[in-house]
């Protein structure tokens, strides 16, 4: 069929069409505002962050400690048995050096996003956060890191109570 059809529908627009004002369109800005309830599991997580603690939850039947904590184990569909305070240290599972913002603005110093496997959680169980106090060249998978917290009186019960994770100086 495609080999028989020579002309396919669709009218591609070019940048120059807009510059020359040939194209009509309507532009608007949506301004949606939301307030998300934390729920039970994440509520406990945020409350613990305010106290300077990373919280996980444990399922006895699956012997699995997950982070962030939740109320139900999605493997066995039973309630999680308990909340478990984890360490604020971990291992870089993977990372990226990002030179671009969501709206495609270029940035000189890369933002370093990472998945950090948290000590005390089950293997491959981590959270997404950022790395700091590190030369981008030195970041590597397997790097040991520790959370850098906001001062206690500035914490508000949010993931940003951890500013970033920084490398643990070995030895």
């Amino acid at each position: 069929m495609t080999s028989k059809i020579k002309v396919f529908p669709g009218t591609p627009l070019r940048e120059v069409d807009f510059k020359e004002g040939k194209i009509l369109y309507r532009h608007d800005e949506m301004n949606g505002q939301y307030a998300w309830d934390t729920g039970i599991g994440i509520g406990s997580y945020l409350a613990a962050l305010k106290e300077g603690v990373l919280l996980g939850s444990y399922c006895r039947s699956c012997r699995r400690t997950v982070v962030p904590p939740r109320t139900v184990c999605e493997w066995c569909f039973r309630p999680m048995n308990s909340y478990i305070p984890l360490k604020d240290t971990g291992t870089v599972n993977t990372f990226s050096l990002c030179y671009i913002t969501w709206d495609l603005k270029r940035i000189k110093e890369p933002e370093i996003s990472a998945v950090i496997e948290i000590d005390g959680a089950s293997p491959l169980h981590g959270i997404m956060h950022k790395l700091g106090e590190v030369d981008p060249e030195d970041v590597h998978i397997g790097m040991r890191v520790q959370a850098v917290w906001k001062p206690a009186d500035e914490r508000e019960g949010a993931i940003t109570d951890i500013l970033y994770f920084k490398p643990i100086k070995e030895g």
């Binding site: 069929m1 059809i5 669709g10 939301y34 709206d103 495609l104 997404m128 993931i159």
Partner: protein
């Protein structure tokens, strides 16, 4: 399983464009009309319509299924929009398949549309809401993070280089040069071009990524007795599968897409396929990023873990290789209007198995092909296997 045989008998698509003058409705109608015309059917012959389109956030139209219904030919018919993120384009024909296989309908129209250009200043912004609103969005992530981190984990786990993976982008963009609807076909692109393109989020460079696009694709799917009336070259759906992994994406193995394996095993079992590497002639895995083609080939059990880049390097996955992968040019070359891109892969298998793919035709009269898509929060796999035999 007591289900009826289902055939694809027609397909149509628009150009894939960075920005189309047509609305989503107009694109949907263009693709649907072409699909119906290709099998000499009319909307009167169609009993139900399945629509696939990705986030409402792209065009800020709530209930986009209803909005697109006139262009999709849904008026006065049973109609439903399905949505599993990037996996939608291969899920919509699965929905079409069970509509017909169940005996409920004899002929359905499947339409997938995407118009990503409406979001200002860039469609990436529409993806920000995929991150958890409380535990992730305060970190101000952007969409590239998640893919860059998955690619990095994949490379590190198996010792794969960026150069290895760049061969996939080169293959697909070259293949796309033969696709009349392609946005980024380039017969002369080289591995160096990919490696030297702008670094966005290490390890992802610009040419490792597919372009945001506008476009639509449509299929006509019918029961056996209808297929025999309208064509002597039906392409049969032999197997379908889909599966979902955890939404806690930082709590799983990022180097291997287990959910794609589950989806593939479901489809292989339905199709009676024991040795997929010998029994699948053409593969159209989802390739929004070049490493994702590799990731998915491994999840589909068509390459050993960590070995998929070698298929492109050795030429096995070229159009004239032993197992052509993305002969269409894929999302990297043809373009990535999310839901439409997935259905484009199913349409490509349809055209290839009928020997109608023109300059893209894979040699050797292929008998069976597989299309796969992937999406949600990097967690859903959708698979369709099609063949020249029922």
């Amino acid at each position: 399983m007591g289900m009826r045989k289902v055939a694809v008998v027609g397909a149509g698509m628009t150009k894939f464009m960075r920005r189309a003058q047509e609305t989503g409705k107009e694109l949907s109608w263009q693709a649907a009309r072409m699909a119906l015309a290709s099998c000499e059917m009319t909307l009167d012959d169609i009993q139900a319509v399945c629509l696939g389109t990705a986030p409402d956030a792209f065009d800020s139209i709530h209930l986009k299924g209803e909005y697109l219904s006139d262009g999709a030919g849904a008026w006065g018919k049973p109609y439903m929009r399905s949505y599993v993120g990037g996996g939608t384009g291969v899920f919509a024909p699965i929905q079409g398949w069970y509509h017909v296989a169940s005996g409920l309908f004899d002929a359905v129209l499947v339409v997938c549309e995407e118009k990503m250009s409406s979001f200002y200043p860039h469609a990436q912004g529409a993806f920000l809401t995929i991150f958890d609103h409380t535990t992730e969005r305060p970190l101000k992530p952007n969409l590239l993070w998640i893919f860059a981190m998955e690619m990095n984990r994949y490379m590190q786990t198996y010792g794969i280089s960026k150069e290895d993976i760049a061969h996939v982008a080169v293959k697909n963009k070259r293949n796309a040069a033969d696709h009349p609807c392609a946005l980024l076909g380039n017969p002369d692109i080289t591995v160096e071009d990919v490696l030297n393109s702008e670094l966005l989020a290490w390890p992802v460079n610009r040419l490792d990524v597919s372009p945001v696009s506008d476009g639509a694709v449509a299929l006509v799917m019918v029961a056996e007795h209808v297929a025999k009336r309208v064509t002597d070259k039906p392409v049969w759906i032999q197997g379908v599968g889909w599966s979902l992994d955890t939404a806690y994406w930082t709590n799983r193995d990022l180097a291997y897409p287990r959910y794609v394996e589950y989806a593939a095993r479901m489809a292989y079992e339905m199709a009676g396929i024991k040795e997929p590497r010998k029994e699948i002639n053409i593969v159209e895995p989802y390739d929004p990023f070049d490493y994702k083609e590799c990731h998915h080939l491994e999840g589909l059990l068509l390459a050993d873990r960590g070995q998929a880049p070698q298929l492109a390097i050795d030429g096995v996955s070229l159009r004239d290789g032993d197992m052509p992968v993305c002969p269409s040019g894929g999302l990297l070359g043809v373009g990535n209007p999310i839901a439409a891109a997935g259905l484009m892969k199913v349409a490509e298998i349809f055209w290839q198995l009928r020997g109608e793919a023109g300059a893209r035709q894979v040699p050797g009269q292929p008998k069976r092909g597989l299309a796969q898509a992937w999406g949600d929060l990097m967690q859903v796999g959708t698979v369709v296997i099609m063949g020249t035999n029922p």
